[in-house]
Symmetry: D2
Subunit: 347 residues, 4 copies
């Protein structure tokens, strides 16, 4: 018998992607999808790509219905909304993967600083595991609630982790991130209006994007310092999907490229969803389109004093829905790659 899955907040692009992946999962069965604004509408009417794969009708959220119909839930709600439903579901003992930022900070004060909202369930934040399987697989395995990482933090941390762990990094780390427009969601804004966003590139939230807080929190856990110096600048790129991070790490000591490769291979050679690219090949977001893979490569700067890390993910898959399914697989004791081993759709 299949495991019954609910998607709370299913009308956005992350919800669509969750529905697509649950539909393809051999051990999951989608039993409930909710969306306030579109209650009563078939999801395949919003997204004809789902026709025949998921023709469920979106419902208003009702805790008792969800608790009865679902063995596990994926929260696709916006930040600020997830925490309104998480506590009750948690108390009902239902395994939760929350894709919002609400449960990503162990310390709710930190959340309140970056998101400007009063936290409604700091006790859940405290126990929620940060769902980056490459770093926290064991903890996820034991977790009842997982906070699925943000798209930028996922791309940045997967690239940085081995270098940080191996203590290669000197002072300030620069993360220059580039995102496709779907990362901004389905909400209409001037920035994501086609004539404003197409055929152009621009930076945004230069002095303090919320994901900087999340990245800093996680880096602190890895390197055990008080104030990691991180600069993070995101950019909007005229493409649908994908995040590319170019990360500049000042090297503490001289090191050659083969030693770096050894460190990265040591960390990642058995990882299902991280691919180290061959020497001289750099990530292109299109190569991971529609897939749960992170492509990673590294290079020394011309003066050999800076390590340049590059990573590409699909923001809606490894950066959101795919990673959520990966986490759920681990939580439920299923093979981690179940329902997720699709190659990218290129070109």
């Amino acid at each position: 018998m299949k495991i019954r899955i609910g998607i709370i907040g299913a009308s956005g692009y992350t919800g669509l992607e969750l529905a697509r992946l649950v539909a393809l999962h051999p051990k999951f069965e989608l039993t409930c999808i909710t969306a306030k604004k579109y209650a009563g509408v078939k999801i395949s009417e919003l997204y004809p790509s789902l026709l025949g794969f998921c023709d469920l009708v979106l419902e208003e959220y009702d805790e008792s219905v969800v608790s009865e119909k679902c063995d596990a839930v994926l929260l696709g709600l916006p930040s600020g909304e997830s925490m309104k439903v998480a506590l009750k579901l948690y108390e009902n003992g239902i395994p939760i993967v929350d894709l919002s930022a609400d449960l990503r900070f162990e310390d709710a004060n930190n959340y309140e600083y970056w998101y400007g909202l009063k936290h409604l369930c700091p006790e859940i934040s405290r126990v929620a595991v940060y769902g980056l399987p490459e770093l926290y697989r064991n903890e996820i395995n034991d977790a009842k609630v997982v906070a699925n990482p943000g798209c930028y933090p996922t791309a940045a941390l997967i690239a940085l982790y081995p270098a940080l762990k191996a203590s290669l990094c000197g002072s300030t780390i620069i993360i220059d991130a580039k995102s496709g427009i779907s990362g901004a969601g389905r909400q209409l804004t001037l920035e994501t209006h086609f004539p404003q966003a197409a055929d152009t590139i621009s930076p945004y939230k230069v002095s303090g994007h919320r994901h900087l807080g999340e990245i800093e929190s996680e880096i602190k856990k890895i390197v055990k310092v008080d104030n990691p110096q991180i600069v993070f600048v995101p950019h909007l790129v005229p493409m649908n999907r994908g995040i590319l991070c170019t990360i500049y790490v000042p090297l503490r000591n001289e090191i050659n490229i083969d030693e770096i490769r050894e460190i990265y291979e040591g960390e990642y050679k058995n990882e299902l969803f991280v691919r180290l690219l061959d020497k001289g090949i750099y990530p292109s977001t299109k190569s991971v389109q529609g897939s749960n893979f992170a492509h990673v490569s590294f290079e020394l700067s011309h003066d050999r004093k800076t390590l340049v890390l590059m990573s590409a993910i699909d923001n809606l898959v490894k950066g959101a829905a795919g990673q959520a399914i990966q986490n759920l697989n681990i939580m439920l004791g299923i093979y981690e790659g179940e329902g997720l081993l699709w190659p990218g759709v290129f070109p």
Copy 2:
């Protein structure tokens, strides 16, 4: 034991897509891939999206090797090259799906007219079945060699077939077709150079694209007329994948939209890969991206005298590699949807 598949001409986008789909197919195993220009290179080096799914090395074509290693072959060669290898493989009794145009015309003279090449194996052309399963499923089932349709003809004929069969059409049929740039292949040309092709649209081969010949041949078989009057104008659209056909059919007699829906549902309601869209919803190529589906809708013009048919496919999947796998499934007696039932990747 899995069926061993060879892809002859595997370095182009169609070859890549064939490799991706064979890798995902539960009953197929890829045993041989060839490409003259890239012999010795791993296909996943050309296309990092395949890393871990298909890391085979491309070989030079060698008939005896292919015949030994493969239970069935997919020919991804350019038109003019396929017919050089098809005859021998056919004589060796190996099931073939040819994705080039070489075997699409029953009458080789017709091929020679449209392609300007001497045909090398008219006897194979004569027995090859035109691989549009929605029209010729039974014949494909019995075939040893299948000519996989062109991308434009696939999109056009799926939209037209029910209307033609129901004798709705009066005089000249106009097919205005719009294609993503991957339809032009991986060969470098000025027309497909990014700065020429991006952020613009233009028609090409207005007075006689080769696919017009193929569409006319097939329409003749459906409606049994000598000279079907067809105008076909293709356009290059700044997108990667996808074909949209907008087809204008002068109505022989007045008919209302519900009767038309009845005709289309009668024809297609059991088809695995054709989806009729609900009233007022029109196809968008992105909804079928990466998938083997054809989305079809229809509408009456404002004066109700012209039937407007619209269809969208992914040119590399239903318009090429996906349809080839569908044909191979049918030829080999496997469930037609095996390895092909993935929803489109939207957005």
Copy 3:
């Protein structure tokens, strides 16, 4: 002394383009720009491309201020809003070019049918001249109020006019039109949200776009028939600017391509803003990007029974703001090309 120009409704893309062109015009001076929603904001804050060229502050519309400050006005308001201000300005004797649809139909009933709005000043509609200079130059010269044509009608009528005038056309004319997304304006909609509109193409308003009414009205004037049979289907193309019309005209009698060229050259060889492309060269919207030119070409279908007309314009220039300036030049007795003779920005 320069002619003082006002732009009423200046915050949208058409308003921006009007401001850009007025700023470049040697005989015009922009003295007043209005926009309800952005009153008090500098237009160069909305559009940094205007920095240093136009730094005027947007004002609320005030009839007496406009009448005092301006020698002529350009109405960039949405359809339904223009007619609210046109009457008073007309009575004040101020030359007007209205870019909305409000004054395009001589017969206000026709407007009411297509726009679903009660017309507020049918008497102005009756005297307003349809501002397609290639057809109505003399009338524009004498006009006090000009209705600037829609973008689709401009592209379609310029391509069709010589063929219609020369009585080449048989029955139903098919206009398959493709537009860049800026044609839908600056208003946020799901259809123009980047992730929905990028990397895809789709038709819209298949059974009756408003511009069909306008095209039909104009064709009637040219060919003097009651019910010209026109099918018009617009499509959204993932590009910023540009309209391409592909028009299928059934030929009344056989004709060869050189005779057609003669007809087109006869009509257009002295036209400043229409360029007939050489044989075998087809329009690409990017070649007219940012310019007031219409590129036109024609070809016979393979069976020589259908004339295929192709035209490309920049929807915001020849399809809107540029044509408005061209009309204003004519109305004010200035050289028609003044301030408009810029080549397209390619690539």
Copy 4:
């Protein structure tokens, strides 16, 4: 009488842009355009956007013809080719602006290191002035030969110059640059093939793009250090035109944003082609599309220890052809903005 201009190497995108700008220049007259590959072809056949503005026929290069026909020349040849013609033209006393890299390095050894070519006229390199008017206006005014800067160095140096001059910069400067695809030229390559380049982003030449050498050379002149530490990583972005530089400058001392603005305004407030954007507004390449402007803004990182500089230019205008005309204006004693004061074409 107009100044007679020749464009040597006129068939590429830079050549096209030079032709467009010369055609619009009130004091220039284009008398000679050359291109080996397209000799005998009208440039407006290659680029229909030029129809009626420049219909000259491309010729083979002939030194005596050029010397006779032209009062000044613009060299649009590829690096390695310019130096073959520069010496003779220089000796003939013809003012030259060279858009290749051949004359950009005072020390030819430096050129040979970065370009891997033997320099053919180091004596010209020594006297050529680096054509960044914002830095070297006086020297350009006296020059006979000007080396037009690369597109990346232009964008980077304009952003960096005031900060460098004011000694704000600590150690390593990171330049993360993003370019539209036209920057790679009209030459066909796999990287610029639409299906490879569209809807994706990727870094290239991470460990040593040639423009790094040029940027380092120039920074040395500004800050008078031996080895400025610069990391430069370029990226290909799916857009036609535009370069965005995001530059990370570690601050030597604490400074607030208003002091930085003062420094930048002090340097640039009278510059014709540099625009400082208002607080909180960041550059978007589309705002400078088709124009000669550089848009610059700056921001402090969240921890206030890093200065983030951002600049956007059109790579073909301020990054190539426009700047060449600006240099030529200065060299010839014409008003610097002559023929160049067009706003960007947005959207």
